[in-house]
Amino acid sequence: MPLVLNEEQRLLRDTAREFLAGNAPVAAMRKLRDERDALGYDALLWRKMAELGWASIILPEAYGGLDFGFLGLGVVMEECGRTLAASPLFASAAVGASALLLGGNSEQKAALLPQIAAGELTLALALEETHHHRPTHISTTAVPEGEGFVLNGSKTFVLDGHSADKLIVVARSSEDDRNAQGLTLLLVDRQTPGLSCQRTVMADSRNAANLRFDNVRVGADCLVGEAGQGWAILEPVLDRGRVALAAEMMGCALEAFERTVAYLKQREQFGVPIGSFQALQHRAAQMQADIELCRSVLLQALSAVDETPEQLPMLASLAKAKLNELVKRVTNEAVQMHGGIGVTDEMDIGFFLKRARVTMQVFGDTGFHKDRYATLCGY
């Protein structure tokens, strides 16, 4: 694995940066928040992203995909992290598309992937049931009935849960509710009777929802993979999501860091730029060193998705844990080094702080991934 972007990927990065600067700057995110936008993202922006091929970036050409692999997705996610661009890119193009790609049967793929590729169909993963990421602690039940299933239970922190066309619901079809065995993935239309949705407004002003399933009936064609064997699909899907999110977090951290370094050069106190103070220089330099480590980890994890999937669990946990720590440190320091204006709503820096906190919880916080890494190391 090269750990260096190739020509095509560098070009993609430059195009993405230019597009987002023009179409989805941080100001656009501020506008969505101020207007309490019901969708949580700009539908026109998503259409333009789809036209650029971003909705299909990891999908094979056979399904109308761009087939740029996960490194390609990572490049775009990182740029979206820089401008805090809200879109279904993560929930649908990274997580949802991966679930169908890894778990869907040929009919499901043929019917749904081209729609996803075109940005016409969006997906969301309905997984969490408690306030911490515990992907095997599932109580929502999927009881076989006739040819299909009946779903009962509730889900929380479902990203895009209120806006996606279809949900991939993680439910349990066996007794034990704290076990990777007996999980079943079902593709559920958001408009299905018995499914209720409550949008939650989170710190990052993005899109999450709580969902309730009251005797929601779905047909056999909704089953993704085999009943009771959902974990074999869910685990790699989560790892892909973690790595994609790590790329977004890198963009978020880099942008906050670069804005802060620029401020250190510009802001004067005691008659000199505050960036000439060693107390600030060393903290900035340490963050730069951390950024360098995270860059390598991120590239390796993104490459592993397509090149060495057997190494993905360890690398995904390494990437998510390291980027969690980086984005926390950098956004905290960004606010502190901006001083008083850092805590004003007028400055954009607070948006990076708040988005960072949400991404840190999605698909596993630092403790979750350190524990998983340690377990994979055998201790």
Binding site: V4, P273, Q281, A285, Q288, A321, Y373, A374, Y379
Partner: protein, 398 residues
Amino acid sequence: MQDLDEFRQEVRQWLEANCPPSQRQPITPPEQYWGGRRGSFPSEDARIWFERMRDRGWIAPDWPTRYGGGGLSDRESRVIKQEMQRIRARTPLYGIGLWMLGPALLEYGNEAQKQRHIRAIINGESRWAQGYSEPGAGSDLASLQCRAQDMGDHFLVNGSKIWTTAADKCDWIFCLVRTNTEVKKQEGISFLLIDMDDPGISTTPIALISGESEFCQTFFDNVKVPKENLVGELNKGWSVAKALLVHERKLMAEMGSDSPRKVVAPNEAARKYLEFDNGRITDAQLRSDLVDYNMQMHAIALTHFRTFEEKASGVRSAAPLAMKYLGTEAEKTKSELLLAIMGSRGLGWEGEGFTTEELDTLRLWAMSKAMTIAGGSSEIQLNVIAKSVLELPQQAEK
């Protein structure tokens, strides 16, 4: 890439046939061969291994063949390193000449200097010491005072150098000396090669907290140095010095992941010294510290790999400037972690009641404190990042 695979097969076969089994064991300091007029081989196998590698051109695989190097590309050299690591082959020749002076001399030395010194380094005929720091010039290296007066046909050197590693065993020393006191401090420094046998040179070992005395202070009292031993131009030594520091810092950054030394790894130590329950370390704090360390080392290893790939594809990045800081801080963390894992068994200083490995762990812990000071302290490394990478404004220097 296919050529590289073929080359790898070739290297693998050659190493298999030529590296004696005894030279595939983790190494302890007395088993290292440092060369030089005063040096001797620690064993007959060490001599055979060194001579075979020398004759194959692999002591310095990426140096030009006309000076005894292998003439190989960066990628090929790395294959040799990787294949040596794979069979845990010992480093056949240690030395500052090989790691630091050689690369700088190839870049800045004249033809006569290269002819005279490069092959001698590769052949293990000369062992080098580094004369950089002085008692009054540590982090502020450029303020050095050791003086070289122009006497027409030679320089007359007076002053002293400190932290000169094993100077009492070395044949040569490369020194930063002051040749002009009238200008900005960096602009009055020259780079000299000095024969340690020259009259007027004396060394005194310095006892360290580790109980070792590998560093010396070296004194120069009216030492005559021929003009031909000036590397680069007069008063332009600071450029040579900085280029050499890049090699030194790269070396120090990679120390933790380099040649197989006979030291305990934290994961092995955890198995030996900690309680497990259901496959998990029961001490939550130590388990957490261990995973932090392993993740950090994983990230550092990937970054070494990335910097190599970037160099090979001509991409510039800030990563190389951070590696000395990251690598040596991680080494220090490792030593602290080992002590914590070993508990009171990690505190043995000498004698009965402890294994050799346990005693070595404590000595290495003490030595690790020097890693973030030598070669530019961690604080200096952060200054360099702040200045060169982040381009933050500098405070006026006195």
